[in-house]
Symmetry: C2
Subunit: 160 residues, 2 copies
DNA sequence: TAATACTCGGATAGATATTGTCCGAATCAA
DNA sequence: TTGATTCGGACAATATCTATCCGAGTATTA
């Protein structure tokens, strides 16, 4: 079970956008983070479709967070990138084979499905606890005080 | 992020093996559960490599659990099938690009990696809480009292 | 007002991981 | 000793993820 690599880029972008006050193009975010511009664009599209960002077209366009950073959780970003698929899908093995259980006895999920679902819930709950604002605060505390403002300035500055 | 489908089969096999007292061939476990025999063999090999099962070759061979069911957790099975890879790998984006953080300031994992790791821990903790014995008990309670013994008899019986 | 340069968006190839299959080596029972 | 039966690792097919391209649309700017 591996998480898509795009999640990491997407989260970094969200944090960076909290330092900018205007729209930031995808190409600029890609350069800031040293990642593939064309591929990052795909992730940002997903965040836009999920309603976490608003895209502005045209000459000085780009992406802007639609909500305050405190109202965007890490789970929101993960689900936007990964899609709505659950981590575990029960194929009802108990209803197959020569000793299959009768459908009447299978109205509730089997214990294996319940166990996997509970673990999935714990995982999502942990991700929901943390907001983009929390990430921003931690980044601010772990680096020089002018680190985030410098990112904001760099994002705002025109290309050379 | 999707869990390998083989995990479901592997867990069902572990529960079934608690009802059998001797070695059970992979082909028989596959028939019981109505899944591909050749593919299930792959999962059982992984469980064997992980030390959860012991394989017996030869005419009346098969697979046997090496430990009591109470000492095998669902997490053991999941990690045996999925491999030891972590769900999230940090590529140190903070150290890339024009405003890269200095390596000196990056001795500890970044807040994004910490968040993902914490969620991963919560997921694994939930899976570690449940043992194969727990699964067996739940299955026994949710079906007729003779369901598990019948599985044991069927596994033991010679092929027609 | 019209041209223009810059933006996103979806459709399109390549790489990687997962799923599914096969046959040979080893083993135990007869 | 024979022989049937088992596991084990090597081999394709498929699905998913990664990476890329070019066209549609829009605010700027002359």
């Amino acid at each position: 079970m591996r998480l898509s690599g795009g999640v990491e880029s997407a989260l970094h972008c969200c944090v960076a956008l909290t330092a900018a006050d205007g729209p930031v193009p995808a190409a600029r975010l890609a350069e800031l983070h040293g990642v593939s511009a064309t591929y990052l664009a795909k992730q940002l599209q997903a965040l836009s479709r999920a309603g976490l960002m608003h895209s502005v077209q045209g000459k000085s366009g780009g992406y802007v967070l639609t909500r305050p950073p405190a109202e965007i959780t890490v789970l929101d970003v993960v689900e936007a990138i990964e899609g709505p698929r659950p981590t575990f899908v029960c194929t009802e093995i108990r209803q197959r084979g020569p000793l299959a259980a009768s459908p009447d006895a299978c109205t509730t999920p089997c214990v294996i499905a319940r166990t996997m679902t509970a673990a999935d819930r714990a995982w999502r709950a942990a991700l929901r606890e943390v907001s983009i604002a929390d990430l921003r605060t931690a980044v601010g505390e772990e680096h020089d005080a002018d680190a985030l403002p410098r990112i904001g300035d760099w994002l705002r500055a025109p290309l050379p």
